[in-house]
């Protein structure tokens, strides 16, 4: 949105005005308060406010009457009525008079957020009509997407193009290339950027857990479910859902997913109410999905539903020229987080990095730089600070799996098989780490 959205709060109770004021100020809105309808109308005569949030019961003029007066001032503010009781008749009257919506005090934080977000969308739609649609779009919020190589510039161009549409996107690339960063960049540059980007790491969840995560559950759906829980599709309403490792989902979940993508509706586990959610879907996979379709492992109809736009992220070895810039970025990032002076890298160390094949891609480079800062001399990264002499060269490993296995084992040993700590270092969640331990049949020396 070009400018801040302005909100006028009208309520005779100080504590309500103060609480709402704090809530909206923290959300970045411009906020004014009035303790009665007369004061509110006087503010509106001198300036335009985008949204008016007014209590229905106030001494003197009530919220409904104030709403009629606002209309007579020819102001196109969106009016939302607040009521302490769910009085349907007065709420209906407010809606008949053209109020945008009504809300019952106290509000569920999510309901209030949604209501204001919906009102803001309406305001930005109006603004958008006024704005030039054909202006060139420049990418915003891509601070972690580093690279000036042709390969990376082509990816960023694709991101810029697809961000403006609502089409599903599949991002493919080897592990560690930054698929989630690309998903974030698409979302942050889309019209949906003011709504959430919700990530789901499908590979880390079993079929039943994934179902509950995606669709949510109702209070009492199973023992211990004391509260309703929103699913990821519902959380992504108005925004984007990012399904990482899509190739790992079961055939049953593939059918469920196809149905939700086609109808944009679903039912919470244990519920019977159909919920509609307006989300954009972005998927990522390090597997060849087309090949999986040919092998009968992935549904063809789902593949074509998802594969409207395909962005391939090149592995780091295909964009060696980006390594100096990436190293510089990670040095700044980690030196800052470790409260150290910004370090540099010496020529020999940089040259060695440029010669390395990086089977773990940018993630591996990032880990190497972080490690080198820890073991280094606090001034510059030297060749001896890099782990090449300790068997990390590509030739030491038979395959990418072998490299992953050795790396996981190394980290687990270092942290004495503390799963939480190791998962944090490897930058995966605990469930993924357990799956990897099982996959590679790794055993703790203590057992």
């Amino acid at each position: 949105m070009a400018e801040k959205i302005s909100i006028l709060i009208v309520d005779d109770e100080d504590s309500v005005r103060d609480s709402l004021y704090n809530w909206f100020i923290e959300d970045g809105y411009e906020v004014e308060c009035a303790e009665n309808a007369k004061q509110a109308l006087s503010i509106l005569e001198s300036k335009d406010m985008d949204i008016v949030l007014a209590d229905i019961k106030m001494p003197g003029m009530d919220g409904l009457e104030m709403h009629r007066r606002i209309r007579s001032l020819n102001k196109d503010s969106i009016v939302i009525i607040m009521t302490a009781f769910a009085a349907v008749d007065t709420a209906v009257q407010a809606l008949k008079d053209g109020a945008f919506d009504y809300i019952t005090k106290p509000f569920d934080p999510d309901d209030l957020s949604h209501l204001i977000r919906n009102a803001s969308s309406q305001i930005s739609l109006k603004e958008e009509n006024k704005a030039l649609r054909s202006k060139l779009v420049s990418l915003e919020n891509v601070e972690d997407l580093i690279g000036s190589s042709n390969a990376m510039i082509n990816v960023l161009k694709e991101v810029e193009q697809v961000a403006q549409s609502n089409s599903p996107v599949i991002i493919t690339g080897e592990s560690g290339t930054g698929k989630e960063l690309i998903a974030r960049a698409i979302h942050s540059n889309s019209k949906r950027k003011f709504s959430p980007l919700v990530s789901v790491h499908c590979g880390a969840l079993t079929e039943s857990l994934l179902e509950s995560e995606l669709f949510g559950h109702e209070k009492g759906a199973f023992t211990g479910a004391m509260y309703n829980r929103k699913g990821r599709f519902e959380m992504a309403d108005g925004g984007t859902i990012f399904l990482d490792e899509i190739a790992t989902i079961s055939p049953k979940m593939q059918i469920e997913l196809l149905r939700v993508l086609e109808t944009k509706t679903f039912i919470r586990v244990g519920g019977n109410k159909e919920i509609t959610s307006d989300f954009r879907v972005i998927c990522a996979s390090n597997k060849n999905l087309k090949q999986m379709v040919n092998d009968g492992l992935f549904r063809e109809d789902l593949y074509y539903r998802l594969n409207v736009v395909n962005i391939r992220i090149p592995p780091l070895r295909e964009r060696i020229e980006d390594i100096p810039m990436l190293v510089d970025h990670f040095l700044k990032k980690y030196c800052t987080s470790m409260s150290r002076n910004i370090m540099s890298i010496d020529k020999a160390a940089l040259k060695r990095l440029e010669q390395y094949e990086f089977p773990g891609n940018v993630r591996e480079l990032e880990n190497m730089v972080e490690r080198a800062i820890v073991v280094g001399n606090e001034k510059e990264i030297r060749l001896k600070d890099l782990p090449f002499d300790k068997g990390m060269s590509t030739s030491s490993f038979k395959s990418l799996d072998d490299l992953e296995k050795q790396y996981i084992l190394q980290v687990l040993d270092k942290y004495e098989w503390n799963i939480s700590q190791s998962a944090k270092v490897i930058k995966v969640d605990r469930a993924t780490l357990y799956n990897k331990i099982k996959k590679y049949n790794l055993n703790s020396p203590k057992k």
Binding site: D108, S188, G224, R232, S337
Partner: protein
């Protein structure tokens, strides 16, 4: 207000264990590059209990904390275990005045058990750290951020908290007057 050279005070109103508080103080220290210390409190919370809502009034607690906040600390953050509300919302994870020096946060609604999930102490600590760093961000003048990984993203559900990182993005760091 920008991050100066004074310290942040975490006030233990929840009888939290030392290790738990030390982990929180550590994450606050790292994020804001300021000393963070812990103080014990024996405040009787019963007078802040609202029997009709069966919750504790966050606004009243903020006023109380303000009356005995430490002048030697740039920010005072109260840590609670009880279910908090304010007059307009059914519940809050935390609360702070923008550019103010008082804030509060509670673990009550952050516990997995509250949502029928398995107890997870590590996740609980991570969520609490995020809420505290978020509220401190408001106290340093930051508003909600739209960048997906930034801790200053608005969170209305506990799942929203899990989606964000425990760190400020570089834009927010800059706005809070910290180095990039």
């Amino acid at each position: 207000m920008t991050v100066g050279e004074q310290a942040i005070l975490l006030i233990n109103h929840g009888n939290f264990e030392k290790e738990f508080l030390a982990a929180i103080a550590g994450s606050v220290r790292r994020e804001y590059q300021l000393p963070a210390s812990v103080k014990e409190s024996h405040l009787d919370l019963s007078e802040f209990y609202d029997p009709t809502r069966r919750q504790y009034n966050g606004n009243k607690l903020m006023t109380e904390l303000d009356s005995w906040s430490s002048q030697n600390h740039i920010k005072n953050m109260g840590l609670f275990r009880v279910d908090l509300f304010n007059p307009i919302l059914t519940y809050i994870f935390g609360q702070a005045a923008l550019k103010g020096n008082i804030g509060l946060a509670s673990i009550y609604r952050l516990r997995n058990e509250q949502y029928g999930m398995k107890k997870d102490d590590a996740l609980l600590l991570e969520r609490f750290q995020k809420v505290i760093i978020h509220e401190l961000g408001h106290m340093f003048g930051l508003v909600h951020c739209h960048l997906p990984p930034c801790v200053m993203q608005s969170s209305t559900y506990v799942e929203d908290i899990d989606q964000k990182s425990p760190h400020l993005c570089s834009k927010c760091r800059q706005e809070a007057g910290m180095n990039k």
